[in-house]
């Protein structure tokens, strides 16, 4: 799995930075430790919100979902928010099957997510 991270500063009254973590490839138990670490780093570095771009993820299993749940909890514990975006069809199906699509904030694109977080 490939993981990228960048920071964006949306135009808003607050000067808070948003971390955008991009994931691509297969997201299963083997990838969880590095993704978990990346999400924690993203929250710690920006002290703020995290957008996870799942556009390149073509498979996710229960361990991957659990990792995102943990990421959201970690964000919340730090007073921040986490938004997922760019879900591909196979990944979206898993979110719908587990109804986690109702628990996560999910948006279409990184731009939409960062705009929502900056508002």
């Amino acid at each position: 799995m490939q993981i990228s991270m960048r920071e964006v500063k949306p135009m808003s009254k607050s000067d808070q930075t948003i971390a955008v973590v991009g994931l691509s490839g297969r997201f299963d138990a083997h990838e969880v430790p590095q993704v978990r670490q990346a999400l924690m780093q993203a929250t710690n570095r920006t002290k703020g919100h995290v957008v996870i771009d799942l556009g390149g993820v073509n498979f996710i299993d229960s361990s991957g979902l659990a990792c995102l749940v943990q990421g959201m909890k970690y964000c919340r514990e730090h007073g921040a928010d986490q938004i997922l975006c760019n879900l591909q069809q196979p990944v979206r199906i898993i979110f719908e099957l587990t109804r986690l699509d109702r628990a996560f904030k999910i948006m279409v694109s990184v731009e939409e997510a960062t705009t929502a977080l900056a508002a």
Binding site: A29, S62, S63, L65, A66, V69, Q70, M72, K73, E77, L97, T98, R99, L100, R102, A103
Partner: protein
């Protein structure tokens, strides 16, 4: 301002109660009370026999557990009793950890009990039902719930109505994707979700070697309905010959609540078969030893009524499994990465052959044990609990955005 912590009620069986799903509840509650966002767990189990009490040790940093035994297996007024207990304790949300025979072995009691989630939802509490089996995949006749085709069709009709009632809960969680598919297609349900069963123990890699002494063949569970040991004992007789090291058959567990007296009748019937040990009820602290000593775990099922907690335990302890290739069990095996030797249900020769393939081949035994251990590592129940908390938070938040704290059921 800090977020108020959740007060969650759970309707379930729980050790030392011996009802089905007690073990699952034990582990679920164990991890639930360790979660930061949980302020109190209100355990609403069935009443214990006289002289027994529930005891959950208070632990530093863990949420307190209040135990209110409020229903009785087989009673017809369980739903009302449960509703009264929920209203009295007024939790933020309610979880039912149930299957179709949780509330009784008679049709009326079992059915009336299953109306409880609907009543709780009607009373205005966010409600999730964790349903471990569904009527559509139970072979009612071989599971011992229906004696003939007419009774079976009547039961299926009522089962359908009860399922409709259960689906009135805010959410219904099941552990097998096929169940989601069935409930969505047959009932047009939009509130069913898949939640993994979860691995009970966060154990280190077990030893795949055997202790000295006889080779132990283990059957673990609650016996008498669809888990019957006669075929296993017949197979065990076939396996005990001079060509093998000494064997021991360990039948660990109790009668199913739906089949009182079953194991005693088996014990009498097979009194002449040597090297069989009936352990009776296995206390939680003895479970690791019982599994650890076994060479193979056998599933002498004639049918299944849901995913198997025992299979997950066999995986936790790195044990090879011998399984009937039927129903849900096959589904779990295929979908969760478990493996084993398979036998034709009810056929002692087939079962003996399957067991022999494991115990006569240490390499095969170890390979199966390792595969099952890896499969059981899938997702610890501690993380599954987080999913439920997330769903509860979503439900509660959804309600709080409404005008009233509690909304009437739809």
């Amino acid at each position: 301002m800090p977020t108020p912590k959740l007060r969650l009620a759970i309707i379930t069986t729980h050790p030392p109660g011996k009802g089905s799903l007690n073990e699952y509840a034990y582990h679920f509650v164990r991890f639930l009370r360790q979660k930061e966002e949980v302020g109190e767990v209100i355990l609403l189990p069935d009443a214990l026999p006289q002289g027994q009490t529930y005891y959950l040790e208070p632990r530093q940093g863990h949420a307190p557990v209040r135990v209110i035994p409020c229903w009785a297996f087989g009673a017809k007024d369980n739903a009302l009793r449960i509703r009264a207990a929920v209203q009295q304790t007024d939790p933020d949300a309610v979880l039912f950890n149930i299957q179709f025979a949780t509330f009784g072995n008679r049709k009326v009691a079992a059915t009336l009990g299953l109306t409880a989630p609907y009543l709780i939802k009607r009373a205005g509490y966010p409600t999730i039902v964790l349903l471990h089996n569904i009527m559509e995949t139970i072979n009612l006749r071989s599971a011992g719930f229906a004696g003939n085709a007419f009774v079976e069709s009547v039961m299926r009709f009522f089962g359908t109505q009860v399922t409709r009632l259960l689906l009135k809960a805010d959410m219904v969680a099941v552990t097998i994707p096929k169940y989601v598919e069935i409930l969505e297609s047959k009932y047009k349900a939009t509130n069913v979700l898949l939640a993994p069963h979860g691995a009970f123990e966060d154990t280190p890699q077990p030893s795949f070697e055997l202790p000295p002494g006889p080779i132990k063949i283990l059957a673990f569970g609650k016996f008498g309905t669809y888990k019957k040991v006669e075929t296993l004992i017949e197979a065990f007789k076939l396996l005990q010959d001079d060509s093998r090291p000494p064997l021991e058959l360990v039948i660990a567990g109790t009668d199913s609540p739906n089949a009182p007296g079953y194991l005693e009748s088996v014990r009498r019937r097979y009194a002449d078969v040597p090297n069989i040990r009936y352990t009776g009820y296995v206390a939680e602290q003895d479970v690791p030893r019982i599994f650890g000593e076994a060479a193979v775990v056998v599933f002498p099922y004639t049918s299944t009524t849901g995913s198997s907690g025992v299979l997950h335990q066999a995986g936790d302890y790195g044990k090879a499994a011998v399984l009937p290739y039927i129903g849900d069990l096959a589904e779990v095996i295929a979908e969760e990465g478990y493996s084993g030797e398979f036998f034709e249900p009810g056929n002692p020769h087939s079962l003996a052959t399957a067991i022999a393939r494991v115990i006569d081949d240490p390499e095969r035994r170890r390979a199966l044990g390792q595969q099952n251990w890896r499969a059981s590592r899938g997702l610890p129940i501690a993380e599954v609990v987080d999913w439920y908390l997330l769903h509860f938070e979503t439900l509660i938040a959804r309600r709080q955005t409404g005008t009233a704290r509690r909304l009437p059921a739809t």
